[in-house]
């Protein structure tokens, strides 16, 4: 009788608490996003405008793309801390070799994607074959790639991009919507299909959930891990190209902080650090929560010194809601 009482939901189905109790973590994140939108709309009429919402989506697109790669790696039971420096290296290489020439756009993009894939391959091999813990491995790779970028540029990135390059990477509007948003949407869709509708996706969850059991079931665990990190490296490189195209410059700190925000977005969205649990739906919500919050704080003119405090509190909120729910 006591157990029955404990297992009975506290809130009624129509109450807010009851609603929270029925949601998983991804649902809680989306609920948080909606609450943020509601509160921001009340506090400032400038928030809920088409232009501002498109701004948020445009700003979220680069983090969103990186976060897809991070989610895939997290699902495998790992993490990728090298994303930020791969982004930076990709951008500085692009600027250097483009040197203002449209004819070089495709070869340069392929080169940068190859660099991202190579870094991912290196991470994957070391983690799967040599059994280096993912956190340590990618932390080391992050430092190596940062150094490679500094050596490559000798500290001063050279070169320039072209207007066509910027358009190819999303600066152009389609039907009034920034191209970056479409690119993000396409990548999320392809990745969702990969995770939910392919053998690879099922095996990825299996490896992340229980590596030993997956191996004993005949899953090529090493191959799955390597592919996961290669995808993360590819998306980080692509994200770097988009960021360079968006900002119009490539300095040696361009991607700084992106991997941590990608981790935060993925984990807030319900993807487990332990692997095997989560998905892109929650990650997209996590990305929107982080970027929308930045936008709200800018619009409200929050004291810059309190900015980080506000960010931290709101990011924690979904986790607190989830714990209260349980």
């Amino acid at each position: 009788m006591l157990a029955k009482a404990i297992s009975r939901p506290v809130g009624s189905p129509r109450s807010f608490l009851g609603l929270c109790q029925r949601l998983d973590q991804a649902g809680i994140v989306w609920l948080s996003v909606l609450l943020l939108v509601l509160i921001a709309s009340i506090l400032s009429p400038a928030f809920l405008t088409i232009r501002n919402l498109l701004n948020i989506l445009r700003q979220a697109s680069i983090l969103g793309i990186i976060s897809v790669g991070q989610t895939i790696v997290l699902l495998s039971g790992g993490a990728d801390l090298s994303q930020s420096t791969v982004m930076t290296l990709s951008a500085v290489v692009a600027f250097q070799y483009l040197a203002g020439r449209d004819a070089m756009i495709l070869p340069v993009m392929l080169l940068c994607l190859a660099i991202g894939a190579a870094v991912g391959l290196f991470n994957g091999l070391m983690i799967s074959k040599v059994k280096v813990p993912p956190f340590l491995m990618t932390l080391g790779t992050r430092t190596i790639i940062l150094g490679v970028g500094l050596v490559f540029t000798q500290g001063v990135p050279q070169g320039s991009i072209t207007p066509l390059f910027r358009q190819v990477l999303g600066r152009i509007d389609l039907l009034g919507i920034p191209g970056q948003i479409f690119i993000w949407a396409v990548i999320v869709l392809i990745s969702w299909v990969l995770l939910k509708r392919t053998v690879f996706g099922r095996r990825l969850y299996a490896v992340g959930g229980n590596r030993r059991a997956a191996r004993q079931s005949g899953v090529q665990v090493d191959r799955i891990l390597i592919v996961a990190y290669v995808i993360s490296g590819l998306l980080a490189a692509y994200g770097g190209l988009m960021l360079g195209a968006r900002s119009g410059n490539a300095d040696n700190a361009l991607g700084h902080g992106y991997e941590l925000n990608a981790l935060a977005a993925s984990v807030i969205g319900g993807t487990s650090f332990a692997g095997g649990r989560g998905g892109l739906g929650g990650t997209v919500g996590g990305v929107l929560l982080i970027i929308a919050l930045q936008n709200v704080l800018n619009i409200l003119g929050v004291n810059p010194n309190a900015y980080l405090v506000a960010m931290g509190l709101v990011i924690m909120a979904p986790m607190v809601l989830l714990k209260v729910q349980r």
Partner: protein
């Protein structure tokens, strides 16, 4: 003569001779003595005169010829530092603690220090360098490591006003002269500070923006990393103007960390938050300024309708040259070279100014071409490095 026997008269004559000779000798000796005494006295007087000479000239002025690029500003009275207690024979071991090299300014700043050091091979035996990666905590460790390596002088570009203060004071207590380079520190325990006067730059930028707006309007403010000298002092300088212009209102301000992308995203948000309300932009750096003008352009607004300040980041200067609006105040990348020279002067016992400001200059659309280099990338900044100097070289 040996063997000569003196008679009485001979003795007297000899005595007289000897007496007259001794008198002569005595007189001559007295003269010689007088000459010697006169010479010694003259030397003493000359020496005293030389020592007293500074009292009659600019008090404490060093007697070396400083390069024009490094010459300190004389806008404020100079407080000379007596460095005789630091005087020691070379060659020297210098320690240079840099905050970071992740932006264009920091790279040219760094390279100028290395270049200047190579010009004194007989005096500088070792030039140890550390990079804190923008971490104040790491910079504290870096400075402690440099002290442990037995450096004769410490040059430091602090990450924040508080960064490495305990280590800076420890170095001074140990008799290691500390030279603050480019950025400020909270402690006054250092020998000299070679810097762009951040307060003056902020003031100049605010004066220009206020003038463009006719003393009335709304502005937004973009600043460097929170807690860093340039950001804090630059804003203080701006406020020294704005407090006397009550019709200028700051709608919002944010630390966008010398990041073009971050500044652009922030401006996109502010254009939404304050539609048609932003009249001017207080901008501390050109790299952020370049992102801001792009955000304005993408919003289909004429950036020249929002006068903006900035610094001599080539990307921003190229934009000003093309669009014929906005202004910059320079941020001399050679403050580090002045720091190396200052360290040599200090170890030579020569006086140095406590505040060694490298003058900053103002450029706008009318004269920006003088310092813009269209052949170089956006990340270039004006510098005094020789053309054959290889960035990243020793």
């Amino acid at each position: 003569m040996p063997g000569t026997r003196l008679t009485g008269r001979g003795s007297i004559r000899m005595f007289q001779s000897l007496h007259s000779q001794s008198e002569a000798i005595s007189q001559g000796g007295n003269s010689a003595m007088k000459r010697i005494l006169f010479g010694v006295a003259s030397l003493i007087l000359i020496g005293l005169a030389v020592m007293a000479l500074p009292a009659f000239t600019q008090a404490g002025a060093p007697t070396v010829d400083i390069s024009a690029d490094y010459r300190w500003s004389t806008d404020e009275p100079i407080q000379w530092q007596d460095t005789t207690k630091y005087k020691k024979a070379g060659p020297y071991k210098f320690g240079f603690s840099n905050c970071s090299t992740t932006n264009a300014y920091a790279v040219y700043f760094w390279e100028t220090a290395k270049w200047e050091a190579t010009k004194h091979p007989n005096k500088i035996a070792e030039f140890l360098t550390t990079d804190a990666g923008d971490s104040a905590a790491k910079q504290l460790s870096d400075v402690e490591d440099l002290i442990a390596k037995g450096i004769h002088a410490l040059i430091i570009r602090p990450c924040t006003l508080d960064a490495a203060v305990p280590a800076i004071e420890k170095a001074m207590d140990k008799g290691i002269p500390v030279i603050i380079s480019n950025r400020s520190t909270k402690t006054s325990k250092y020998v000299t500070q070679n810097t762009t006067p951040w307060f003056d730059r902020g003031r100049n930028q605010a004066e220009w923006v206020v003038k463009q707006l006719g003393g009335k309007g709304n502005i937004v403010s973009f600043e460097g990393p929170a807690g860093s000298g340039p950001a804090v002092e630059g804003f203080q300088g701006a406020m020294s103007v704005l407090k006397n212009n009550p019709n200028i209102k700051i709608l919002a301000r944010k630390a966008t960390n010398w990041s073009r992308a971050e500044a652009k995203a922030t401006m996109e948000d502010w254009l939404q938050a304050f539609p048609k309300k932003i009249d001017g932009i207080l901008q501390q750096s050109g790299i952020m300024g370049a992102g801001v003008v792009e955000a304005i352009e993408e919003a289909k607004i004429n950036p020249c309708s929002m006068p903006q300040s900035g610094d001599d980041y080539n990307g921003y200067m190229k934009w000003i040259l093309k669009n014929k609006c906005n202004m910059i105040t320079t941020n001399p990348t050679w403050a580090s070279g002045a720091s190396v020279v200052a360290a040599l002067m200090i170890l030579d016992g020569q006086p140095v100014p406590k505040q060694w400001n490298i003058p900053t200059k103002i450029y706008d659309a009318t004269n920006i071409a003088e310092i813009t280099d269209l052949s170089k990338s956006d990340e270039w900044m004006p510098n005094i490095l020789p053309k054959d100097w290889k960035i990243g070289g020793k």
